[in-house]
């Protein structure tokens, strides 16, 4: 079979290069709440709390993708207009945009996907980075082989699914395939998947891509509970599992110099605290449980940039100075010649860029697949006609039989 041979050849010649074993150089966070409406206040509070934490630990806003399906701060039922709290003490306003000094807030919240934009499709597009060319860069997950990614999801779920906005759901298998595509394109170095929902641990069973650590709030057939309600807000303000995550992060991660390991963080979620069996999946991570537990919490929750302090720059500065001076002189000397040459010199890139633009509109989103769906419609109509015909024929036959 020639087709099979081709596939085999592709497999052979284009062997996947292993993920770089070097350290990560950037941190990204995807924080998703999947439920809307006032009584789900706690899910948005969960997500905003995580947002505050990762921002506090140094992940810049353009590397945090925040998906909020509803706006609790401006909900008409909210007695505290413009505020979202995750604790009945109401000491910390999660929706504070007044700046860092007053409340130790974080100076503004950048919601990337809001309301009806929070859909399964958009979430999968986000992970796989399959967007029409018009999609803004700030709303994309532009990770590379050296990015560590934190994914936090909260909402209502069940066995192997998580509900999005009461209208659709994402299954464990969809997530697993999305991660596989990220892995194939080397879009992450290490990935920490966290989920706070009922039967959360079933969400990560289907995962199969290396480099993933997954943790959930409750085992199969268990519910995840809310922590407490605020009588003045009128609803539960935070979920148990997230509450204790935050408690740990606020207590032990006060600065970017904190050396706290993932193992300690996971062990903090005991049954006594969470009232359900929080689970962790280590087996996909290279090095297994030991290596995963030894990872620093800041490798996922913070943006700790590797730093190379330069030594002996003095001598190399002198080198550069000489080089650059020489370059300047040369540039001045050949300026005349260069004038007419420069255009030619630049042309290859210019044409490439021009081509990119030209191909832009072509690549815009075409979800409908006009011709395809038309064919399908015809096929559907034809089958209906055939079935109807069969029915008519049979009833005619019956009548005949009856007459006989």
């Amino acid at each position: 079979m020639p087709c099979q041979d081709g596939d085999e050849a592709v497999k052979r010649t284009l062997v996947a290069a292993p993920l770089a074993d070097a350290v990560h150089t950037s941190n990204w966070a995807v924080l998703v709440s999947t439920s809307r409406f006032w009584f789900n206040y706690r899910h948005l509070a969960n997500t905003l709390s995580l947002y505050r934490t990762v921002k506090r630990l140094g992940i810049p806003d353009n590397q945090i993708i925040l998906m909020l399906p509803d706006d609790m701060a401006c909900n008409p039922r909210n007695t505290f207009t413009g505020s979202v709290f995750n604790d009945k003490s109401r000491l910390l306003d999660l929706y504070d945009d007044k700046g860092a000094l007053e409340h130790l807030g974080m100076g503004g919240i950048e919601v990337d996907y809001r309301g009806n934009e929070v859909t399964v499709e958009n979430f999968i597009r986000l992970l796989t980075d399959r967007w029409p060319t018009s999609h803004p860069h700030s709303k994309r997950l532009m990770t590379g082989p050296q990015s560590n990614v934190l994914i936090y999801m909260t909402g209502h779920g069940g066995n192997e699914f998580l509900k999005f906005q009461d209208s659709e759901e994402i299954s464990s298998f969809d997530l697993a395939d999305a991660f596989a595509q990220m892995y194939e394109k080397k879009r992450y170095h290490e990935l920490l998947f966290m989920i706070d929902t009922c039967q959360a641990n079933t969400m990560y069973n289907a995962f199969y891509s290396p480099g993933v650590i997954a943790t959930g709030s409750s085992a199969k057939d268990q519910s995840s509970y809310s922590h407490h309600a605020d009588q003045d807000v009128g609803v539960a303000v935070i979920d148990r599992w997230t509450y204790f995550y935050l408690e740990f992060l606020e207590t032990y991660l006060n600065s970017t110099a904190s050396d706290v390991r993932l193992g300690e963080l996971f062990d903090y979620q005991t049954y006594d605290r969470v009232h359900s069996d929080a689970g962790v999946r280590y087996d996909l991570f290279p090095g297994g449980e030991l290596a995963a537990r030894e990872k620093r919490v800041l490798d996922f929750f913070g943006n700790v940039q590797g730093v190379e302090i330069e030594d002996g720059l003095k001598s190399s500065q002198i080198d550069w100075k000489k080089d650059l001076e020489a370059l300047q002189k040369l540039a001045a000397k050949v300026e005349g010649e260069q004038e007419d040459v420069e255009g030619v010199h630049d042309s290859p890139i210019a044409t490439a860029a021009g081509k990119l633009n030209a191909s832009g509109p072509k690549a815009t989103l075409d979800m409908a697949h006009a011709s395809d769906s038309f064919l399908k419609k015809i096929a559907g109509a034809a089958s209906l006609v055939v079935l109807g015909g069969a029915w008519m024929a049979s009833s005619a036959l019956t009548k005949q039989a009856a007459i006989k």
Partner: protein, 493 residues
């Protein structure tokens, strides 16, 4: 769709290197010397990837030097163009004791001066020159073997792999340098703790240091430059902050503070400039009461953040100036130039900038060919694994384009046209990415069986029940008729 021409055999990466040899002292000697150097270089098994061509050039050296300068500016895309990688000029100089070499920085020229009084024969000189050339290409050779390691491009060829120490160094280099992009955005920011200095002569400083450098890189990538000034920039709340050291009378930053030094929440460093990565260069001027501010570890004032940019602290002598002049900025910009070249992946040797940029062109072309192929591989594996994903025709077209351009890139490499190879590899990479990230290849690929039942039963159920009932009825009637016929027959008989 017409099938694109497919390469018959897999691409065998090979790098022809053209060396011109000028023997100023004795042009008649050039031919034999060239042949010997070429022979020695080719016999070197460390260089299996290279194909050295050494051609004698009998023309007068000064003319040759002028010609060399124009070589820099001939159109690299023209088909006949063979980029002469290096010119070797052998001079007689009675003032030198033993043979000496000088490598020019801004043109790829190696000057060899030997004493004519020495009874050195051509063979010794040839060995000497070949060793120098060997040293020049060592780092590049290591990098390229490292890039090709564990890819199909090396299958069946004995390519010497670098030693573990060199490999660790190359790992670090890979972590440090940005991934190749056709456009980089450079952002130079001045952050000051207080109100002063309020401005800087950045344009002048950039013009004299950064601009000539990025002009040199223009054959590889494009650059845009932005600058900004931010006053009253505060430290991030999550770092301990500078501590005063009594003995040295300096404010010191610990290493752990450096990693959180960039106050991501408040400093406007978001790279929203468009396609392509942003390289950040931050100059921080501490307030008067926290000056001088240094790094505790080595008393230095600059550090590099891999794949992000460079940071420097400037402690102006005396009172805070209102304005940072070009004079203040000169050492700063030199450090930034050094950091920029590191972040772009420029090799650290040989000492000639021209040769290093050539090396970078070859390295980049190689790395994009490898990454475009790996994207294709990922797409192929994906299409085999996720069977239900719909793949539109545009993806097939892009894949064909990719293969075509990869083939072209490979040919250009063989012909020694490295800029053309780079350009083709870049197009191949863009096409491969476009194919992989095709927006319509999204969808929920998994639907559990319960879903399917729930969707189809309400549709097919009402339709199916009468059909089945009629079928049963008809069958019974048929059997009845059969029986009647049989009994009829029996009666008849």
């Amino acid at each position: 769709m017409p099938p694109a021409e497919k390469p018959k055999t897999a691409c065998k990466l090979e790098y022809p290197v053209y060396v011109r040899l000028i023997v100023e002292s004795d042009p008649t000697q050039a031919e034999s010397l060239a042949a010997q150097v070429e022979g020695l270089l080719r016999a070197d098994d460390g260089f299996a990837l290279y194909d050295f061509h050494v051609t004698p050039d009998a023309s007068n050296a000064t003319i040759a030097f002028d010609a060399l300068r124009t070589v820099q500016h001939t159109d690299p895309a023209s088909p006949e163009h063979k980029e002469s990688a290096l010119t070797v000029n052998v001079k007689a100089d009675s003032s030198v004791k033993s043979t000496e070499t000088t490598l020019w920085s801004w043109v790829p020229l190696l000057e060899v001066r030997h004493n004519p009084g020495d009874a050195e024969d051509t063979a010794t000189l040839a060995v000497f020159i070949s060793q120098v050339i060997h040293r020049i290409f060592t780092e590049e050779q290591n990098t390229i073997s490292y890039l090709l390691e564990e890819t199909a491009f090396t299958s069946g060829r004995p390519i010497k792999q670098p030693s573990p120490e060199i490999k660790a160094e190359l790992d670090a280099k890979k972590t440090r340098a940005f991934k190749y992009a056709s456009t980089y955005h450079l952002t130079f920011s001045l952050f000051t703790s207080s109100a002063l200095p309020a401005s800087w002569d950045v344009e002048e400083a950039l013009e004299s240091t950064i601009q000539p450098l990025i002009n040199r890189f223009s054959g590889i990538s494009h650059f845009t430059v932005d600058t900004q000034v931010q006053l009253y920039a505060s430290f991030s709340p999550s770092i301990a902050g500078p501590q005063y050291d009594d003995t040295s009378r300096e404010w010191q930053l610990q290493r752990s503070d450096l990693s959180g030094f960039i106050n991501a929440a408040e400093w406007p460093l978001s790279p929203g400039i468009g396609a392509g990565p942003t390289i950040n260069f931050v100059l921080f001027v501490p307030s008067q009461d926290q000056s001088p501010l240094v790094i505790a570890e080595n008393g230095g004032n600059s550090w590099l953040i891999p794949q992000w940019g460079g940071v420097q602290i400037l402690n102006p002598a005396g009172k805070q100036p209102d304005k940072l002049t070009a004079h203040h900025l000169e050492p700063v910009m030199l450090t930034f130039a050094d950091q920029l070249s590191t972040l772009l992946g420029l090799p650290s040797s040989p000492p000639s900038l021209a040769l290093r940029i050539q090396s970078l062109t070859r390295e980049r072309a190689t790395s994009i060919i490898v990454s475009a192929s790996s994207t294709l591989g990922a797409l192929a594996r994906l299409s085999l694994k996720l069977k239900s994903i719909a793949i539109p025709k545009s993806v097939a077209n892009s894949v064909d384009e990719t293969l075509h351009h990869l083939d072209q890139a490979c040919r250009a490499l063989h012909a020694g046209q490295f800029h053309k190879a780079l350009e083709n590899a870049r197009t191949a990479e863009d096409e491969a990415e476009e194919a992989f990230f095709e927006p319509s290849m999204v969808g929920q690929v998994y639907f559990p069986d319960e879903h399917k039942v729930a969707v189809y039963v309400p549709l097919l159920g009402p339709m199916g029940v009468p059909l089945v009932m009629v079928l049963v009825k008809e069958l019974r009637a048929f059997i009845k008729r059969l029986r009647e016929k049989k009994s009829q027959k029996a009666k008849d008989e």
